[in-house]
Each structure stands twice: as structure tokens, then as C-alpha cells.
Symmetry: C2
Subunit: 140 residues, 2 copies
């Protein structure tokens, strides 16, 4: 089984979305959140913080896990469990690597209108629900 | 990579803990929550609801994932990612199988005093924190 992680990174009430490079085989130009695959001897929490640093140069902390699931990533040979985390920006400016061509900090409302981000809508709906009740500085 | 799941099942503000059978090789007689391993072609959510049904006969729903981690379950050959869920009892009485010899519904305070449940303390501390703010019927 492979394990993948995703991160919805919050900063001042907005969330980081990134545009996939046009050179990507899969979904070129689509908007997405930070995602990545777990390496050996790594916890999913360590893994997603590493991916965030590698893909954006920013330091973040994990607020809490939000969603888990299972899918086949490119055929039956590649079963993958994923875990998505709500994260919070700690320090640093976004510096893109070759994976992405653009980034924006946007509200959840804007994300829910973005058709190419459909796969992430249920995650952001859950964060929206939690934010109704939880204090803004909470961390689990 | 192996994937395991755990469930803290709530009913009327109390949580289900179970005593491992004395016949178990590992930690006989210790109190624990429901845990289990992911099967093929199964999402972690489906997996933990299946384990709950198999080990207790009760039907439950998932409130939200609470904790994720990584450990070696019996040596380097068995790397395991785990996901723990806060769950809610829906219907049915507990019927134990051979894995467990006793069960109790207890408060989080009682669990935090139970030394043999040390591995689960951080999970219950997180649920306690969330319950301060979230309405009792919430589900993500």
C-alpha cells in the first residue's frame, strides 16, 4: 500500500492553492493543494511538512488531520491511502519549484467555486465547518 | 507499507474500552480501543467500521480522524502508518469475540488515568480539546 498526504495551508484566513505546471503529464494547469507521497521511515505528519517545505519553501504546522481515503493512483498496481491535513503557515514566503507555475492565497469560498479543485472541495467544506466553532489559533 | 486504524467510540459522552484476552501474545490483559489492519481495496474509513462491527457487533459512524502516526509493528519488516478516528455509536449492544475478555464505557478522565492505555492518551486528550468547542452531534 502506498500512502499520500495533502495539505490545506492557512495564512490569515486564506489558503494556499498552486497551479500545476503545463509540463505535467497529469492535469497540466490545474489548481491544487500541496500533495506528496510518504517516504520510508517517515510518519505522515513528517512527510507532509517535508513536502510543503520542498514545494514552497515555507514552514508550516499541522492543525489536525481532516480527511482520509483510498484510490488507485494510475491503475490497480498502485493502491494509495491518503491523509489530508489542515495546516497553518508559520514562516517564509512561497518559492515555487518546477511542479507549479503560479500560486494564490484564497478564501475557502473561492476554492469551492474553482472547478479544477473539485477533488479537494469536501476537505475544504470540512475545514469551513470546523472553523465555525474552533478558536483560530487551535492546534490538536 | 501497512496501514492500521484505531477507533475511540463514543456513546452518551463515554468511550468504549476493551480488555485484551489473556491468551494474546502481545499485551495480554491490557485495556485498549478497537484497532485493526486495513484490508486490500478498502478505505481506512470502511476498514475501521468493519473492525468495529467484527470485534463488537455494534454499528458506528465516524466523527472525524484525530491522529496519524508511524511505527514498526514487530520489527523493521512491518512498517505501519496508523490513523485513529473519533467515532460515535449508532446501534447495537457490544458482543465480544475472542480478542477481548471484558469491555467498559468510561469517561475520558478515567482513560487518562489508566496506565495500560498510555498509547491512546494523546488521542483522547485531542478529543477532549475538540469537545470543548464542538456541538455534541457534529460529524465531519
Amino acid at each position: 500500500m502506498y500512502v499520500g498526504m495533502g495539505a490545506a495551508i492557512e495564512k490569515d484566513g486564506k489558503f494556499l492553492i498552486l497551479k500545476r505546471a503545463d509540463s505535467k503529464d497529469f492535469a497540466p494547469g490545474a489548481w491544487e493543494i500541496i500533495t506528496g507521497r510518504l517516504e520510508e521511515e517517515e510518519s505522515p505528519r513528517e512527510g507532509i511538512l517535508r513536502e510543503i517545505l520542498e514545494e514552497t519553501g515555507i514552514k508550516a504546522e499541522i492543525v489536525m488531520p481532516i480527511e482520509t481515503g483510498f484510490f488507485y493512483r494510475g491503475g490497480k498496481k498502485f493502491p494509495m491511502v491518503f491523509i489530508s491535513y489542515w495546516c497553518r503557515h508559520l514562516s517564509g514566503d512561497v518559492t515555487l519549484c518546477w511542479d507549479h507555475s503560479m500560486f494564490r492565497w484564497v478564501s475557502i469560498d473561492q476554492i469551492l467555486k474553482e472547478k479544477t479543485m473539485e477533488h479537494f472541495h469536501s476537505m475544504f467544506e470540512k475545514i469551513l465547518k470546523l472553523k465555525e466553532y474552533l478558536p483560530s489559533e487551535i492546534i490538536l
